[in-house]
Structure formats: structure tokens, C-alpha cells
């Protein structure tokens, strides 16, 4: 039986970040990926000739400190693409870019307020960034200097932000996105466009508490409203994989872990689905906490209260993806474009998920990369009231194309190929429990020291030598790599 210092389950961006940090320390590292390609949710895949798209996460960028630590530029990571516009659509179908000049067309007042909003959001993202760069203390039982240091740093950052921004930041977290944007803007179209970023990837409407937090979270990860590096998500994970290998680590694809081997509450290794056993001193799982703990470990080896909390982690994916290959005459402008005509529209789109229904009037985010178009569709709940995703996905494709065709009449005729991914595909193909992109909803009761569950925010589990390093732990959600980096650092 082969033996490693560290086994990392999952070659997504967080798994690879953890692997790279550990391999760089000189550890003998093995990354196991169930798919035939690496990347996890941060992947660029080809679904046909000249039909290459970012399957799930559009572009993105890792934290600058990670890029620097791992010297990713030397392993093929390109510098960030030039800033892209963030575009919403006016009632007459014409695009409106969210910048001062363009907003003036709608409202002088909003245009005047926009720079202050951007300034505050950048500040809020900076404060948020400090929390994500550190491991959370296991509150409430372990509030001491040793574990509280990260929080102290955060408190300092808050204090440095100045009294007004500090207060506004703390207020913003539990607020609804609607309330937050209404403190700045008067026109619904501007407010709704920003709210779209707040609910992106979450099963929440803009009138939901805590969407203030998700707005800051997304803003931080994106570096603003628009996505960076559209169509180049795969470059991130490819560069990370190059780094892992350069540091001496191994990556095996088509190596699905069936279970984690446990003896006396200590993780000893993994068993692959083909029965192969590989042992390791420490195991890091970048799979989501529910999959890791309830499937790979199993409830029978875990304390009852821990199982209860783990079961209760809210996954609730409601994202579908529709990728289109076109002849180029689709008419959609480059950048990040949202179909979010009003806050009420977004909230109604979300309402459908409560009843297990697909939004008839969905929130769409559209990104283009040459002739390909990626549509992020919300809301398409994983748990349908009736019907089955194998058939229902056709309805989602139609809804998406119809909605967009109202603004871009040439779209339908330009389509030559289509690849859609339902929430069920997100689960079955990408291993995301309930199709949740974030490995657990970004909600107020599932963030900071409560992520993945209260009392276990330090990447550890009740199983010795088993650590969580995926998006489901603090720092996770979106492309940043913080969760993977923090996990690797937690075991020094």
C-alpha cells in the first residue's frame, strides 16, 4: 500500500491550493480527483469544437497573497484581464453599464453617489478579506488569545477603517441587499443590478437578511461587480496543478474516493471506488462538508451532535448553467451582463425556490467569451416540487434563451450548440451536494466561526488527522483559495 504525508481529496482550486502549500513545505502529497480532468468548479471545459467555457465559476482570481506565495505566475497563471464592464438592461432593451458616466443617463443623483458606494464596498471587502485570511476561533468554547488572534486582527482592521465605515460594515452584514443599496441609490435598475451580485450563487432573494454580507463577499472575490478572466477559470487550476507538481506533489485523476479509512477516530487513509487503499498521515478533503463527513466518513463514526449539525448545513443549490456556442452574431456585449430589471423581479425569481419551482422570470447573468455565451440561471432549485431534472433542464434552457431573446433578437438564430447543467448535474458531475456552488449557503448562521458548523471552524473534524479545506469552511465560497490555504496552514 502506498503511503503519503498528505492526501487531498478533490483537485478543485481549494484542494490544489492546500496541496501546493503542503508540497511546498516538502510534504509528500497526493491529490485525488474523481473526474478525468482537474479543476473542480473552477474549470474550463470543451463541450465541442471551439466550444470551450468556464463550466461553473466564471473566470475569477485567487487571492494575491496565494498567487505570490505559490509563485503561480511562473507556473502559467496570466495576469488578470483588463476590467470588464458590468452591464444591466434597461426596459427598452438597451444596455446600461454601471459606471458614473452611464448612470447619469438614468439618474444624476445615483451617478453622484456611485463613487462613494464603490469606495465603501472596497473598504468593506478589505475588512472582509482580513477575516478570510485567518482561521476562525472555535466559538463560543475556545475564546482565548490562541484562537482569537485572527479576530483581534479583524477588530484592528475594523478600527482602522474609521468609526463610520466600521459601523456601516457591521450594519451591512445582516442587512438585506435591498436596504443596503437603497441607502445609496434611487433608481431601481441600478439597485437591482447590484442586488443581482448579492444573490449570485445563493438561494436568497435581495430582500433576504444577510444579502448585505453576500454582496460584500462577492464584491471581494470579484474585485467589484464584474467578473475577471472570463473564459479562463481553467488557467487558475492548471497553474495550481503545475505548481503542485513542481513542488513534488502528485495528482491522480479518475481516482474517486469511496471512503476515508478510520481507526479509533483517527483517519488512516482512503479507499478508492476500485478498492485501492492509500494511507496517509493527514487527509484534507476539499469536497463539501456534507459529502466528506456523512458519505466519506459516515455518521456512525461521528458524535451525535456533530452529525446533527452537519446534517443541518444548508446546501440548497438553485443554479443552472446554459452554455451556448454561436456563430458570433448574438449581439450580446462583452462583460458581465445581468437580467435584473427590478428588485421585485429578483425577489419573485427567488420566491419560486421556496415552492420547488423554476423561476418563470429568472435572474440571468450572461458572460461572453468570443463566440461562446455562458448563462448563469437562477433560480432552478435542486429539490423540485415535481418533475425530474433530466427533463426539466429543457424548460430552463428555453426560459433562458427566451428571456435573453427579448433583448437580443438575433440570439436564437446564432446558436449552433448548447450545453446545459442542471443542479443535479452540478451534484453528479462536479460532486456539489444539492448543487450548491458554495459547498454550503453563505448565510449569517453559516459564516465566520459558524462555518461549516459552530465549534468546528478550525478546519478540524472529530476524526483526528482529517481536515476540511474546501469552500464549505470559513474562507470558502467563490474563487479565492483562502479555505485551502488556511487549512494547509492550520496543521503546521
Amino acid at each position: 500500500m502506498s503511503h503519503y504525508d498528505n492526501i487531498i481529496i478533490g483537485a478543485g482550486h481549494n484542494g490544489l491550493v492546500a496541496a501546493a502549500y503542503l508540497a511546498k513545505q516538502g510534504k509528500k502529497v497526493l491529490v485525488l480527483e474523481r473526474r478525468s480532468i482537474i479543476g473542480g468548479s473552477v474549470v474550463t471545459e470543451s463541450f465541442g469544437d471551439n466550444f470551450s467555457v468556464d463550466s461553473l465559476h466564471t473566470g475569477g482570481t485567487l487571492r494575491p497573497d496565494i498567487i505570490k506565495d505559490l509563485k503561480l505566475a511562473s507556473y502559467g497563471l496570466q495576469p488578470d484581464s483588463a476590467p470588464q464592464p458590468f452591464i444591466t438592461l434597461l426596459a427598452d432593451g438597451s444596455p446600461l453599464t454601471l459606471d458614473v458616466e452611464s448612470i447619469k443617463r438614468i439618474s444624476e443623483k445615483d451617478a453622484a453617489r456611485f463613487p462613494e458606494f464603490v469606495r465603501f464596498m472596497n473598504k468593506a471587502a478589505q475588512i472582509m478579506d482580513v477575516t478570510y485570511s485567518t482561521i476562525m476561533p472555535r466559538l463560543p468554547m475556545n475564546f482565548g488569545f490562541k484562537e482569537g488572534y485572527g479576530l483581534l486582527e479583524w477588530a484592528l482592521e475594523l478600527k482602522l477603517a474609521g468609526r463610520k465605515d466600521m459601523l456601516n460594515f457591521i450594519r451591512a452584514l445582516p442587512m438585506t441587499a435591498q436596504e443596503l443599496v437603497e441607502e445609496y441609490f434611487e433608481s431601481d435598475i441600478v439597485k437591482a443590478a447590484i442586488c443581482a451580485v448579492a444573490i449570485h450563487g445563493s438561494t436568497l432573494g435581495p430582500m433576504g437578511a444577510g444579502t448585505g454580507y453576500t454582496l460584500i463577499h462577492s464584491w471581494m472575490n470579484r474585485g467589484g461587480l464584474a467578473h475577471k478572466n472570463v473564459g479562463k477559470a481553467g488557467e487558475i487550476t492548471t497553474a495550481l496543478a503545475n505548481a503542485v507538481k513542481a513542488f513534488g506533489g502528485e495528482i491522480r485523476t479518475e481516482a474517486e474516493v469511496a471512503s476515508i479509512k478510520i481507526e479509533n477516530q483517527i483517519a488512516k487513509g482512503v479507499v478508492l471506488i476500485n478498492g485501492e487503499e492509500i494511507s496517509a498521515n493527514q487527509i484534507f478533503s476539499a469536497a463539501d462538508p456534507k459529502h466528506t463527513l456523512l458519505k466519506l466518513v459516515g455518521a456512525q463514526d461521528l458524535p451525535p451532535e456533530f452529525v446533527w449539525h452537519t446534517q443541518s448545513i444548508k446546501m440548497r443549490g438553485s443554479v443552472a448553467k446554459i452554455h451556448l456556442q454561436t456563430n458570433g452574431n448574438h449581439g450580446i456585449p462583452e462583460g458581465t451582463l445581468v437580467v435584473a430589471p427590478s428588485i421585485k423581479y429578483l425577489e419573485k425569481a427567488y420566491d419560486a425556490t421556496k415552492y420547488g419551482e423554476v423561476s418563470e422570470e429568472p435572474y440571468l447573468e450572461v458572460t461572453t467569451s468570443g463566440n461562446t455565451i455562458s448563462i448563469h440561471f437562477q433560480f432552478a432549485p435542486y429539490a423540485l416540487k415535481s418533475g425530474d431534472w433530466k427533463l426539466e433542464i429543457k424548460k430552463v434552457e428555453e426560459l433562458a434563451i427566451n428571456s435573453l431573446s427579448e433583448y437580443f433578437p438575433n440570439l436564437r438564430a446564432s446558436i449552433s450548440n448548447l450545453k446545459s447543467l442542471s443542479p443535479l448535474d452540478l451534484e453528479q458531475t462536479y460532486g456539489l451536494t444539492e448543487g450548491d456552488l458554495n459547498h454550503g449557503q453563505l448565510m449569517l448562521d453559516q459564516f465566520l466561526f459558524m462555518r461549516p458548523i459552530p465549534g468546528w471552524s478550525n478546519h478540524k473534524t472529530p476524526i483526528d488527522n482529517l481536515y476540511l479545506c474546501g469552500s464549505g469552511v470559513h474562507g470558502g465560497g467563490g474563487v479565492s483559495g483562502a479555505a485551502g490555504r488556511n487549512a494547509a496552514k492550520s496543521v503546521r
Binding site: Q265, G298, Q300, D301, L302, P303, P304
Partner: protein, 400 residues
């Protein structure tokens, strides 16, 4: 309107007719007889000398059934349940993840994948929480299953008169199915008195038939309906503790120091640290086993001569309580607190004032001289006592 009245047991028609002093006690939401007579002596001596018939129907009971029934109990309790044979009964405590006792009771393996678990308090949520991912059903049958505790040296003879199959071969902590008066019963060789005894389990609709048959055939053997107050005296002699009296459940202790581990309660023999796999509290219990326990439940025998001296000072002979005292009494060494007695009673059989006490290390060693609080004519005094091995009383026929 919400009905907050106490329930009556399936034996109420008989017990209420016999209860002379109207001495009723609350037990898990039911009325049960505290004592059938004005003083406890006859009931107590029935347990030790003849045959005591005690209605223990309020005992909380679960039927745990399914492919993973053994696995669930193996995980929840400290016993090695996989090793239990069908027809075996095992006394056990169960703990939280910190290795502190939540409750205690007996596991009966009725069939290969059917168990009955008794408990002092409701545990359905805890059992359900532990059953995640298991193929098992957990049903509370407290209201449906009537239970009689039949205790005392004559009980075997009485049972043999009324049961379809003789009970002679029924070993200590084993159970059998049988019939009494044409009614299906399960008989287990268990009890809460430390004497020869049985517990008889039946459907509630059959309760009175079983009661009547036992009372009729037991009349030649001094069968006596006994209330829970006399049983309380007997269980202290037997060194058996009670939830909420002698320890606080970890699930509703206010502070850490109110909680107890099974080792602290003297249940070392029930903690199967050698059993395979995870069970709740394993880590903490292993640690406590390695490092030793800070507390231990022991027996205290209060010195009669010492009591005589204290009472003598006010011109009285020693006063002894008429029933078990469920109250905390400080225990000291050289005037310094080293623990407390949680239940104390006069033992009519041993002619000794005895107590279940919780003492700190190192005072829990057998033979240690301590003092325990007694009240002498409204004054608190410390009477000399000695730490003794539990149980205080164990007749040779208990396990024979």
C-alpha cells in the same frame, strides 16, 4: 385544554384499592403508590424476606428494531451490545460526547434485531440523533407495556406456581418469554433491590390478569404489594443509584461540576473500552480511564457509637429516618469538605445508617474515615463514618 393530569398505570384499579395512606408519588408523569401502609416496615421486609410486588410501569421503555438496532445501542451505550445474546439483559449507562452520564437503564435483546431499552427520562431525541443513516426504528412503548417488579427470596417459588414454563433455569440478567394466567409475558431476572427478583413485562390490557394471578398464588408466600419508598431503601442497600437523586443528567446539568462520568458512579464494569468502533463519549472515557477519576461514588456506613455520642449530648438516643432521604449531606475529613452523600437511609437489615456518597480523590478509598452531616435536635453535626464497598447488602441468592 392541555391535560396536565398525571396518568395512572394499568395496575391502578388494584393498587388504588390497596393504598391505605393515599401516599401517592409522581414518577415520569404517572401516579404510583409511595407506600401501601402508614409505615414502611412490612413493605421493606417483604423485599428482603418474602415477595414484594411493585408496579414499575412508569419506567420509560423503547423498542428498538431493525437491521442496525444492535449498532445503534452499541453506539449510544457503553456496553458491547454486539456481544449480547438473544435473551440477555445488560445494565448500562449512556454518555454525551464528553463522557458524562445522560441516563441509565437496561438493554434487553428480545430478538436478534429487536431490543428493549429502559430509561429514567425521555431519550427519544437522543436515540434519534444517534440513528442517522441507520436502518432502525425507535418506538416508545412506555404507555403500552405494563411492568411489575417482583422482588424477594420467595419470588421464584411464586412464579413457578403461575408460569407456564418454570423459571428455575432463568439466570441472572437473562429473560424468557412465558405465560401467566394465559397471558403472554416476558420475565427478566432483574430488579432494583439487590435481592432475588424478576421483572415481568406485559401488554397493558393484560396487566390485571397477571397481578391477580400473582397475588393469588403468592398468598402462601407472603406476597405483599410494595410502594416505591420501601424500594428506595432497598436500592440503597444494593448500592444502586437513581437519576436526578444521585446524579444529574449531562443533558440538563446547569454547570460542568454537576455532571458525572460512569467511572465516577462506579460503573467501570459497564464501560467496554475494548469494544470495536466508535461509541458516544469514547475519547473522553478513555482519557478518564488513563488519568483516573476525580470523584467516585462509594458507600458510607455511619458509626452507631459516634451517633450515640452526638445525640447523647442533648439527652436523646440516636434518631433514625423512617425512609430514604433524598437530600445532599456534606461529607468531611478533618472539617474540610471532601464530598456529599446523595441518598441516605436506615438499613433495617444491617442495622446501620448508610449512604451513597460521592467523594473526591483520594478520600474515596475503601476504609477511609470521614464524617457525614446528621441533624441532632435542629443542629447540624458531623457523625463519624467509614467508606465501605458497595453494595452494602448482597444475599447469596441474588445471582443463584
Amino acid at each position: 385544554m392541555l391535560n396536565l393530569n398525571l396518568k395512572t398505570t394499568p395496575f391502578h384499579e388494584r393498587t388504588s384499592a390497596l393504598c391505605q395512606p393515599q401516599n401517592w408519588r409522581k414518577w415520569a408523569g404517572y401516579f404510583v403508590v409511595g407506600s401501601y401502609e402508614h409505615v414502611l416496615d412490612r413493605e421493606y421486609w417483604a423485599i428482603r424476606n418474602s415477595a414484594a410486588l411493585i408496579d414499575v410501569s412508569p419506567l420509560i421503555k423503547y423498542v428498538i428494531k431493525g437491521k442496525d438496532a444492535a449498532a445503534l445501542l452499541h453506539r449510544v451505550t457503553t456496553r458491547n451490545v454486539h456481544k449480547m445474546k438473544v435473551g440477555q439483559v445488560a445494565y448500562t449507562g449512556w454518555c454525551d460526547e464528553e463522557g458524562k452520564m445522560i441516563d441509565d437503564g437496561t438493554i434487553s435483546r428480545l430478538e436478534d434485531s429487536t431490543f428493549r431499552l429502559t430509561a429514567a427520562e425521555p431519550n427519544l431525541r437522543w436515540l434519534t440523533m444517534n440513528a442517522v443513516g441507520m436502518d432502525v426504528s425507535i418506538t416508545e412503548v412506555t404507555d403500552d407495556v405494563a411492568a411489575l417488579s417482583f422482588q424477594g427470596p420467595n419470588t421464584r417459588k411464586v412464579l413457578n406456581k403461575v408460569t407456564e414454563k418454570p423459571v428455575d433455569e432463568l439466570k441472572y440478567f437473562r429473560l424468557m418469554t412465558n405465560k401467566i394466567n394465559g397471558v403472554d409475558v416476558t420475565i427478566s431476572r432483574t430488579g432494583y433491590t439487590g435481592d432475588l427478583g424478576y421483572e415481568i413485562w406485559m401488554d397493558k390490557k393484560d396487566a390485571l390478569k397477571v397481578w391477580d394471578a400473582l397475588m393469588e398464588s403468592g398468598s402462601d408466600y407472603g406476597i405483599t404489594p410494595v410502594g416505591i419508598l420501601a424500594m428506595d431503601m432497598a436500592r440503597v442497600e444494593a448500592g444502586l443509584f437513581m437519576l436526578d437523586v444521585d446524579y444529574t443528567s449531562a443533558s440538563h446539568a446547569w454547570i460542568e461540576s454537576q455532571k458525572s462520568s460512569p467511572f465516577e458512579l462506579g460503573l467501570d464494569w459497564t464501560v467496554a473500552l475494548d469494544k470495536p468502533g466508535y461509541f458516544v463519549g469514547r475519547r473522553a472515557l478513555e482519557k478518564e480511564k488513563r488519568e483516573g477519576s476525580a470523584w467516585k461514588m462509594v458507600g458510607l456506613a455511619v458509626d452507631w457509637v459516634g451517633m450515640e455520642k452526638l445525640f447523647g449530648k442533648v439527652g436523646l438516643p440516636p434518631q433514625i429516618p423512617g425512609s430514604a432521604i433524598r437530600g445532599s449531606l456534606p461529607v468531611m475529613v478533618g472539617g474540610v469538605h471532601v464530598g456529599y452523600a446523595s441518598t441516605s437511609t436506615w438499613s433495617p437489615l444491617l442495622k446501620t445508617y448508610i449512604a451513597l456518597a460521592h467523594l473526591q480523590k483520594p478520600y474515596y478509598e475503601i476504609g477511609t474515615d470521614v464524617t457525614m452531616e446528621i441533624t441532632v435536635e435542629h443542629h447540624r453535626r458531623q457523625a463519624p463514618a467509614k467508606v465501605v464497598k458497595l453494595p452494602f447488602y448482597e444475599p447469596e441468592w441474588k445471582k443463584k
